[in-house]
Assembly symmetry: C2
Homo-oligomer: 371 residues x 2
């Protein structure tokens, strides 16, 4: 069953007839439309790409036709015109409202994602459909997003394969004298060469003392012999799905005995967490086993133990102490224990896994060695 | 006078007491806060970074504290927590509403930018301040953004200097056998090396027949001897301001006589447009002189002749046939005539200029040669 079909079941249960989704992750999840996100709001579009669908049979993405060659458009409107003045946002709104009208919105329950839908679209919809009820369906969609379909697993494997490329590149280029930003840019270039396309990229690339900050954007800091280099690389594949990964290693020399031991403790924690990534296990149990594995050696980390991956790079299930959500087969979870301690530095390891009856199947394979 | 002070004058004229701005360009314009935009909506934040200010004396940016080292935060809230469940979006809303309350919003006129403010923030504000009036001030802010302050001109010069770096790099790496995406990534890396930081980047990088599409994202297409390579590079400097630039040249060989002539016609059009970038000239006159200069040779282009630059990469003044807006000193305008014709290919040249009494002062200096 496709994600669109899965969503329609929920809409019918909730007696929602038509729905609007604005968040890029939800749009990608339901439609496969991976919006261009790297420049902020598109000045040519009048509004964000939107998924507009009915509980029965209609579904489309509303997106501006400019630049046309970037969009797999289904519903277009005039977002760009140079020969006469236009109002892109009015055109965007009108296109969406007309689509809703055709889907029978006038006396229906209209679902929308309240955290992302711009106020001026919702106000216009309320004015145009005064008899309609409006319901926030964002959380319901996010619940559906937790478990992955077969198609989504293939997308996530491809995204995680990009992580392998990026991590291999980081390890190759992070030599003494290179800068954090140089390592970052080389990783980005390698991902884009592998994907043959632009790749949105989140990344912590920090070195030396900065590893104690747990992360951060790359700077011009030059790597010195003996520095730790932490590379947390989370790219979005052109298919719309995000991978996630982290390795930490010593630049241009051997690790100290303490660093070596810390890496072993983290590796063991990761393996113990992996073994527990089975259907029916609570997220909190996974957190407890990973965190507890470090606690036993006197370490801890002031963050989650992991999180889900999908059309956003941080999503349910959150592997946190309070979260009693049950894992299910084919969820995809990244685990990322870390040690951040003066005298050692900051070290974090992260691999992504598919939840299976025999424990986590690794989707990333890159080296986690500290050397 | 700072942009904040300029905005306050307008708010007082409009009898707006407090204001919210959501669009990243407006937030950057009023506060200098250059939001991280390259990954889409931040899953750790609960909502977009917001500028919250009063017409009198208070102003702040509401932004999540995670990752702390990326934010120059002024008002923070719990957007991330792992030891107990939290609702980041509720915390984000509450922080903003409390700030508004402290600024005296309860019986005031509240300005907001309707094209960007999420519905759930506005609905909450309406519920909390039932006696307040809500007014869309987005267009008023955008009007202020057209002319640049001395500080903004320095930011735009730095952004345009990045364009020079990017264009030089494109020309160096675009050799036969290189791919479009390889050129793109090398440009991006050079910009980031120059800025010593991540640089959000918009870019058309197209080659060969693809230049007739006028633009598009880079692909894995390999460059062949004699291909045209069009590089339209518009980076955001870490200071929050965007540059813009375009060059087109022949890869690994001389241009054809027709290509050579087309470049000369475009160069002449650009110079004629530049000469007209003076206070009191209508945008439409600049469009007419640039477009007419090509028309005289039998060419035209199905797009604008140029546009303003600032905290967005496409903004007023739009150099379009219908736009009778008057130029003023210190506006910053990019001009970008193009020729797209079978047998020649697509060629576009773009430089950015400051409007001065003696015509446009170039802010970009890179080579526009077709060879």
């Amino acid at each position: 069953m496709s994600n669109l079909e899965r969503l329609r079941e929920v809409l019918r249960e909730q007696e929602v007839n038509v729905a609007l989704l604005s968040h890029f992750g939800r749009v990608a999840w339901v439609s496969g439309y991976a919006a261009f996100i790297e420049k902020g709001a598109d000045p040519f579009a009048g509004g964000p790409p939107m998924a507009v669908l009915s509980a029965d049979d209609s579904a489309l993405v509303a997106a501006s036709g400019v630049p046309a060659n970037r969009l797999q458009r289904m519903l277009t409107y005039a977002g760009y015109e140079y020969q006469q003045p236009i109002d892109p946002s009015a055109n965007w709104r009108q296109a969406i409202l007309e689509a809703l009208e055709q889907m029978g919105a006038s006396a229906a329950a209209i679902g929308f994602d309240a955290d992302s839908t711009p106020a001026y679209l919702l106000d216009s919809a309320r004015a145009q459909f005064p008899r309609a009820q409006f319901r926030d369906i964002g959380p319901a969609v996010d619940s559906l997003r937790v478990s992955k379909t077969v198609a989504e697993l293939a997308y996530l494997r491809a995204a995680c394969a990009l992580c392998d490329v990026g991590q291999q590149t980081a390890r190759t280029v992070a030599k003494p004298g290179a800068t954090e930003i140089g390592v970052y840019s080389a990783v980005h270039a390698a991902l884009e060469e592998a994907a043959k396309a632009r790749v949105p990229l989140g990344a912590d690339v920090v070195s030396g003392e900065r590893t104690l900050d747990m992360g951060g954007d790359a700077t011009g800091r030059a790597l010195r012999v003996g520095d730790l280099l932490m590379a947390d690389i989370h790219p979005r594949h052109p298919n719309g799905y995000w991978g996630d990964s982290c390795a930490t290693f010593v630049v241009g020399g051997p690790p100290s005995p303490e660093q070596h031991q810390a890496q072993q403790v983290l590796w063991e924690a990761l393996q113990r967490g992996r073994d527990l990534l089975k259907p029916g296990i609570k997220a909190s149990q996974v957190d407890a086993i990973v965190r507890g594995s470090l606690n036993a050696h006197g370490y801890d980390y002031p963050h989650h133990s992991g999180h889900g991956l999908g059309t956003t790079h941080f999503e349910r299930p959150f592997i946190m102490p309070w979260n009693n959500e049950l894992l299910a087969e084919d969820m995809v979870v990244a685990l990322e224990p870390g040690i951040y301690q003066a005298g050692i530095g900051g070290i974090r390891l992260e691999w992504a896994f598919r939840v299976t009856p025999t424990g986590g199947e690794p989707l990333t394979r890159f080296s986690l060695s500290i050397e």
